[in-house]
């Protein structure tokens, strides 16, 4: 039995109306993403997964915290580092792993691949491979819901390197000009592929790029799932109630290379180790333990369960058929 301690301080999420169930769900989602991606790396090494494979390891809190603040009728856009976000939106590990394996049972039936996960029924709009190409689509989604008088919002994940693209700026301009209910979440992991942000971007304060458009903006610790949830809740409220966009810089870090083929020689081991000390899953796990919301044994059994879930996903993907050759020419036109 757990010893009752008289607590002097409320948990820092007290004001957020997060149930214990929801907190545990957020923790579990982060852990699922971590285990899924670790396994994806292994399967890539075995040649089961082809092409590019961009892992989300290290960035879990950004996606989970943001998506946890959404409603089911909201829309999500992202770039190609999309596996983790799909899982956070409740897309099943089976379908996600099968997509990586290029199988007919994948979330895009094996046609999309690692970079192109979609589930329209969950408002998961992908999964786009051209850096800076998808932000206007997300603004368009927000345009559409506003046009039709719905109070859905759209969130748009993007890497920090995409903010150097012209289309990014075009999109911010129109999002603010037309008051679109869209939230841009810039996942600043410090590197555009192998190029450190300091070598690619003039100026130091990324989120201030939105200042030129007088858009609500700020930076948030993307390694902290609660802070992500908190800032996103504010931004979502602003979008839903006032039809106003927000630009949020989530400061985060990817432990792995840009993609599986990246040996990562542009950064030091020390830098990576430094970030691992702030690991979003471990940090949040400790908090949940401290608050008595989870016990060590809960975490262990959760991890075991997740490993089984991921193992089953691999088996499912492996056993699934490749797409039939009949679909080669399907779905080009509606």
């Amino acid at each position: 039995m757990k010893e009752e301690k008289k607590k002097t301080k409320q948990p820092r999420w007290t004001d957020l109306n997060l149930s214990n169930e929801k907190l545990i769900k957020m923790y579990r989602e982060m852990l699922l993403i971590r285990r899924f991606e670790e396994r994806a790396a292994q399967e890539y090494g075995k040649g089961k997964i082809g092409g590019f494979c961009h892992l989300y390891i290290g960035q879990e809190a950004t996606g989970v915290g943001a998506i946890a603040a959404l409603r089911e009728d909201d829309f999500i856009y992202t770039a190609y580092r999309d596996h983790g976000l799909a899982l956070a939106r409740g897309m099943e590990a089976n379908g996600c792993m099968a997509e990586l394996f290029g199988k007919a049972t994948g979330v895009s039936k094996g046609i999309g691949g690692s970079m192109h996960f979609y589930d329209l029924s969950k408002g998961f709009m992908g999964g786009w491979g051209i850096v800076g190409g998808h932000p206007p689509l997300a603004a368009g989604s927000a345009f559409a819901t506003k046009y039709q008088g719905k109070d859905s919002v759209t969130i748009c994940f993007m890497g920090e390197a995409s903010t150097n693209q012209g289309v990014f700026h075009e999109t911010l301009n129109m999002a603010q000009l037309w008051k679109l209910p869209v939230i841009f979440i810039c996942e600043n992991n410090g590197y555009g592929m192998g190029t450190a942000i300091s070598r690619a971007m003039a100026g130091e304060h990324l989120f201030e790029k939105a200042a030129g458009y007088e858009m609500a903006r700020g930076a948030v610790n993307g390694m902290d799932v609660i802070e992500m949830y908190r800032e996103m809740s504010v931004a979502i409220e602003r979008a839903r109630k006032e039809n106003l966009p927000t630009f949020l810089e989530a400061r985060t870090y990817r432990y792995r290379g840009h993609s599986m083929s990246d040996p990562g020689q542009y950064r030091t081991k020390e830098e990576i180790e430094e970030y691992k000390k702030r690991d979003p899953i471990e940090t949040f796990g400790r908090e949940l333990l401290d608050e008595g919301i989870l016990k060590e044994s809960d975490i262990e059994s959760m991890d075991d369960q997740i490993k089984i879930e991921v193992q089953k996903a691999v088996e499912f993907a492996d056993a699934s058929p490749q797409p039939s050759l009949d679909v080669l020419h399907e779905n080009i036109y509606a």
Binding site: L120, W128, G129, L137, A138, G140, A144, T171, M174, A334
Partner: protein, 327 residues
């Protein structure tokens, strides 16, 4: 029957479709308060207001993408995106080729992208190289896109209505020099289906294939040829992708000779593809290799005499016809 300019016919199509479906809206540079750079959207802003007739900043890639994203949500939105000219739409080609054209395929059919990108295409008059180029081959190359290009007011209206109602991204290419061209347009509703070509003049000795502005060049050539006793059939495919191959092959099987006229560059053009299909699918019916008349393989010069020298003319078409007739 009412006689309308092409710009009025297009305006009617947009107006009627906006009337019919509240999910249809038009956005683009100067489409609202200015009534359109070429007055195609005259009066629409006054009628429908800011919500549905939307002036954009000069930001082609951005508003093309916003249109695509709006179309993809699946909540009944059908954007019409006006490109002031297709020259400027080159900035939006990533949005069109990489996003609009591929969304359905990459998602295994989860998305529909009901959107029309329309505006003038092709060489105009003394506008210089960056404002005078025919880009249909670049878009027709892309699976997932539909490419339509009308040559008469009647076609423009019926084709655009089909484009707006279609669930795919449609590239609708008009011509700056043709907005004032007049023709009969019937009262009431009609639709010209995507992929349906038209015989603009019947003939028996040679098939001339042309679209948009080049239809007039082909017809002029046919008229001159008639004086010499040569009967030319003029075929306008109207839709370039998907191509009305049956109509083309049927005509060539009848005339056994073919000349293609286009004001795009010659290398890897739509005409090249049409010629290839005729050569492979109607080889035994041909009495001569298919000839092609294009704009010169150069950026368009400004000087009037040089521009004229670069463009297809009835004279060039007549010479090509005589070549395939061995005359």
């Amino acid at each position: 029957m009412a006689v309308l300019q092409i710009r009025e016919a297009i305006n009617q199509a947009i107006d009627e479709e906006m009337e019919r479906d509240s999910g249809v809206f038009i956005m683009g540079e100067e489409v609202a308060q200015y009534n359109g750079a070429y007055k195609v959207t005259q009066g629409l802003w006054k009628k429908y207001g800011d919500k549905r007739v939307i002036d954009t900043p000069i930001t082609e890639a951005g508003f093309a993408g916003i249109g695509i994203g709006a179309a993809m949500t699946g909540i009944g939105i059908r954007p019409i995106v006006e490109m002031m000219t297709w020259n400027f739409a080159i900035l939006a080609f990533d949005q069109i080729m990489n996003h609009a054209a591929k969304a359905r395929y990459m998602s295994s059919g989860q998305f529909k992208v009901p959107i029309v990108f329309r505006g003038p295409n092709g060489p105009a008059h003394m506008l210089g190289a960056q404002h005078s180029q025919a880009l249909e081959s670049m878009v027709a190359h892309v699976p997932g896109l539909i490419v339509m290009t009308p040559s008469t007011p009647y076609d423009a209206k019926g084709m655009l209505k089909a484009a707006i109602r279609d669930d795919n991204p449609v590239i609708f290419m008009e011509s700056e020099l043709m907005y004032g061209v007049k023709g009969e347009v019937p009262e009431g509703e009609y639709i010209i289906p995507i992929g349906k070509g038209d015989i603009k003049r019947e003939g028996t000795d040679v098939t001339i294939i042309a679209w948009t502005k080049m239809v007039a060049v082909a017809l002029k050539a046919a008229e001159e040829l008639q004086k010499e006793g040569i009967s030319a059939e003029v075929i306008d495919p109207r839709t370039l992708r998907p191509l009305d191959e049956d109509l083309i092959l049927e005509s060539v099987r009848k005339t056994n000779r073919c000349v293609i006229v286009e004001d795009s560059w010659p290398f890897a053009s739509v005409g090249t593809e049409i010629a290839h299909r005729i050569h492979t699918k109607a080889f035994d019916d041909l009495d001569a290799p298919v000839e092609k008349i294009n704009s010169a393989d150069i950026p368009m010069p400004y000087a009037e005499n040089l521009e004229h020298a670069a463009l297809p003319t009835p004279e060039k078409v007549i010479a090509a016809v005589k070549k395939v007739l061995y005359r």
